[in-house]
């Protein structure tokens, strides 16, 4: 018998809930926060540099006297937006190319697999940097570069799963009954790979956010004064002794977001 009884594990359920709550908390903070406490992430007031929390700036001020609360909320909209856009593009591209390669086989499959393997051999950060140098506009560059790095994962997953599904008697039976490729994709392939794709998407989003933050941290990503997680960390690093909370705010927010996404991805049985 090939069917495996899937018993939902209580531990997996708890993990998924924790992950969901963490991600939701971060998103609520970034979307609702600035509405609850209006403010400008770019407004400077040097008199207040590195001073503590007050009603108009619940997380205090940075070294240039800008509200950390509003900068953080802005940053937490920017990175996930780029990451999600890149994951959607990469996921769609990887899915289409992966199923196409598995279904066609032969040269189509060989060329696409070689291309994917070649991209996999390049360091992802380097690839994003190269695209950033070519494409005008930092956000657009990140989107293009991350999509180029991330599609390989989706391609490999969907190609392997489709290959297996297409070889099964169930698909043979469906084809003998006169159904076309669209029906085969909808009833056999998609239900099989959808859970895997969701897992890969959660991991991919975490990776993308990490890449944006890492490049921001080494001053080759987003340009100041754009609020961005990595950039905020490196700007506040020299003042860790005077204003530890100012530095810790972006660190904690990034950590919570990445942990949440990883828990969401890891708790799924694929």
């Amino acid at each position: 018998m090939t069917d495996v009884v899937m018993i939902p594990r209580p531990a997996g359920h708890a993990t998924r809930c924790t992950g969901g709550v963490l991600v939701a908390a971060v998103l609520i903070f970034s979307l609702i926060g600035p509405l609850a406490v209006p403010g400008d992430p770019f407004a400077q007031s040097l008199m207040k540099a590195l001073s503590g929390a007050e009603p108009g700036a619940p997380l205090g001020y940075d070294h240039l006297g800008r509200s950390i609360f509003h900068r953080l909320a802005h940053a937490l909209r920017l990175s996930p937006a780029i990451a999600i856009a890149a994951v959607l593009t990469a996921g769609l591209g990887g899915l289409v190319l992966g199923t196409w390669a598995a279904a066609r086989g032969g040269w189509t499959d060989r060329i696409l697999t070689t291309l994917a393997d070649a991209l996999l051999a390049l360091p992802g950060l380097l690839l994003v940097l190269i695209v950033l140098a070519i494409v005008p506009g930092t956000a657009l560059g990140f989107w293009a570069g991350l999509s180029l790095v991330l599609w390989v994962e989706f391609f490999r997953l969907s190609r392997a799963a489709t290959h297996e599904v297409l070889a099964s008697p169930a698909v043979q039976a469906t084809r003998l009954l006169g159904f076309g490729p669209t029906y085969v994709f909808r009833t056999h392939i998609w239900p099989e790979i959808a859970p895997m794709m969701l897992t890969a998407a959660a991991f991919g989003t975490a990776t993308a956010i990490m890449v944006i933050a890492a490049l921001g941290f080494v001053h080759v990503g987003m340009r100041a004064p754009t609020p961005e997680l990595g950039l905020m960390m490196v700007e506040l690093l020299p003042y860790w002794r005077e204003a530890p909370m100012a530095l810790l705010s972006p660190v904690i927010a990034t950590f919570a977001l990445l942990l949440g996404l990883t828990l969401l991805a890891g708790s799924r049985e694929t």
Binding site: M1, T2, D3, V5, S168, P169, A170, Q172, A173, T174, L176, L177, G178, F179, Y183, T187, H188, P191, E192
Partner: protein
């Protein structure tokens, strides 16, 4: 004196009894067969006698093994007897041998470690065991270099090396074709002739008949009938046993030969190969409306490949397949060996059937009219393939094919995973379909008796065909 005596063995799971009191005794030289369908509790009975039940099941009862008295509720007491008093021949023994150890070494190990012979003595004994079983010279081979039958003999030698007088064989013929099944039965009986006890657990009536001795028929954890195998098989007293024995292909009434209808397909001089090996060649046959073509042969002889060629899924390496004019591609359909694997597993069966009906312009009411005809309850349509029994699912698979109004159905071992009674239902429905729908059926089976009583023509494939006991009305196909 009895070799083994078990009294009032019961097995329960969390307070719910799943095996009701069973008593049995095993005499030297007289085999005991426990016969039952899947889920009848026959394997649980054996496990209770050996003390190998899964943790969540509890057994009760007394077991007397030679001069040891044991309590079935305390499985720990059985452990010292394993291999020394009581040996188990595992299901599919060729999978239970160590793939990285030579055959003779595996037997030597049991002599050395279980029986406690010295190294040199154990080796000499192992070599003599293998000679005795006709495995001279095979001792230095690895399991993958042995044929299935040879691997089974090595497994028997290893199981017996500890000096056990009682051998318990659990479904020893699972997955074997007719010729290999008889070989295993003879092997078990040969072991018995050396003065041991033999307990065989099976659902295979042919094996039971060949083993003989005493028999216990189990159903849903209760003894239905017990007695000498020969008399139970020839004159069963209980209705269930009668059904079970009547469901054995050996006892089926031969099907009335169908009148030849219009020709659907003519194959001439077909040949096919797989991985460079010629599977069959020069095969010629006709398919006509309402007739059943039986195909037999040992596993790996190209039965499924022949089906793929006829269905147009692969090309033949030689020969022609001519189809009657006006047949669409969907007139050629296949019934699979494992029905669970042939349905989309993420979708309810009702949805799948409705999709097929819509694709072929059939009203959905046709599903509702076919359901009772195939003996299926409407509630099944709300389930997924994994939650339906094999027999029901195979009938649903047949229903799915009927929605297409096929002209040829290639049935690839459609009942090899089903119990005898379910097997008879499915085959009967298949025969009815041939007559009622006027389609040609290619019925593949490793069971020559089943094919002989069902098919209008028989095509035997493969080198072992000469040994197979095919008594069919007519043989149209040429052998390799």
């Amino acid at each position: 004196m009895s070799l083994l005596k078990a009294e009032d063995i019961t097995v329960s799971q969390g307070g719910t009894p799943i095996l009701h009191p069973v008593s049995l005794h095993l005499e030297p030289g007289e085999p005991l067969v426990i016969l039952g369908e899947t889920g009848s509790g026959k394997s649980l009975l054996a496990q209770a006698i050996m003390g190998t039940l899964p943790r969540d099941l509890t057994a009760r009862g007394r077991v007397a093994l030679g001069d040891h008295l044991l309590d079935a509720a305390r499985p720990g007491g059985f452990r010292p007897l394993w291999g020394r008093q009581i040996a188990v021949l595992p299901q599919e023994p060729w999978l239970s041998l160590d793939p990285l150890m030579r055959a003779e070494r595996q037997v030597t190990e049991a002599h050395h470690l279980v029986r406690g012979l010295g190294a040199a003595e154990a080796q000499a004994q192992a070599a003599s065991d293998l000679n005795h079983l006709g495995l001279t010279g095979a001792g230095q081979r690895y399991p993958h270099e042995l044929s299935g039958g040879m691997a089974q003999r090595v497994a028997i030698a290893a199981a017996r090396a500890g000096g056990a007088r009682i051998v318990i064989a659990d479904e020893p013929t699972k997955g074997l074709d007719a010729a290999r099944r008889d070989e295993v039965a003879d092997l078990l009986l040969a072991e018995l002739a050396r003065g041991g006890g033999l307990l065989v657990i099976t659902h295979d009536l042919a094996l039971a008949r060949r083993i003989g001795g005493q028999m216990i028929v189990l159903r849903e954890g209760r003894v239905v009938e017990a007695g000498a195998t020969a008399s139970v098989m020839s004159a069963p007293t209980q209705a269930y046993t009668r059904d079970l024995i009547a469901a054995d292909p050996e006892n089926w009434a031969p099907r009335k030969p169908a009148a030849a209808g219009l020709p659907i397909l003519t194959a001439t001089g077909l040949a096919a190969e797989r991985g460079g090996t010629r599977l069959f060649s020069d095969l010629s046959f006709d398919l006509t409306e309402g007739r059943i073509l039986g195909i037999t042969g040992p596993s790996g002889c190209g039965k499924s490949t022949l089906g793929d060629v006829v269905l147009g899924l692969t090309g033949a390496s030689a020969g022609r397949v001519e189809k009657a004019a006006g047949l669409t591609a969907t007139a050629f359909q296949k019934l699979y060996q494992d029905p669970v694997a042939a349905f989309p597993r993420h979708q309810t069966l009702g949805r799948t059937l409705a999709d097929v009906a819509r694709r072929h312009g059939q009203p959905e009411t046709r599903i509702d009219t076919l359901m009772p005809r195939l003996g299926l309850a409407p509630a099944l349509l709300t389930r997924r393939p994994g939650a339906v029994s094999g027999g029901e699912l195979q009938r649903l698979a047949l229903l799915r094919l009927l929605l297409v109004r096929p002209k040829v159905i290639f049935a690839d071992e459609p009942t090899s995973r089903l119990d005898p009674i379910t097997q008879k239902q499915v085959i009967d429905l298949l025969c009815e379909t041939a007559t009622a729908e006027g389609c040609a059926i290619m019925l593949v089976s490793h069971d020559p008796a089943l094919v002989a009583r069902t098919a209008d023509h028989v095509l035997s494939l493969g080198p072992a065909a000469a040994n197979a006991d095919v008594t069919a009305p007519r043989v149209v196909g040429a052998l390799q």
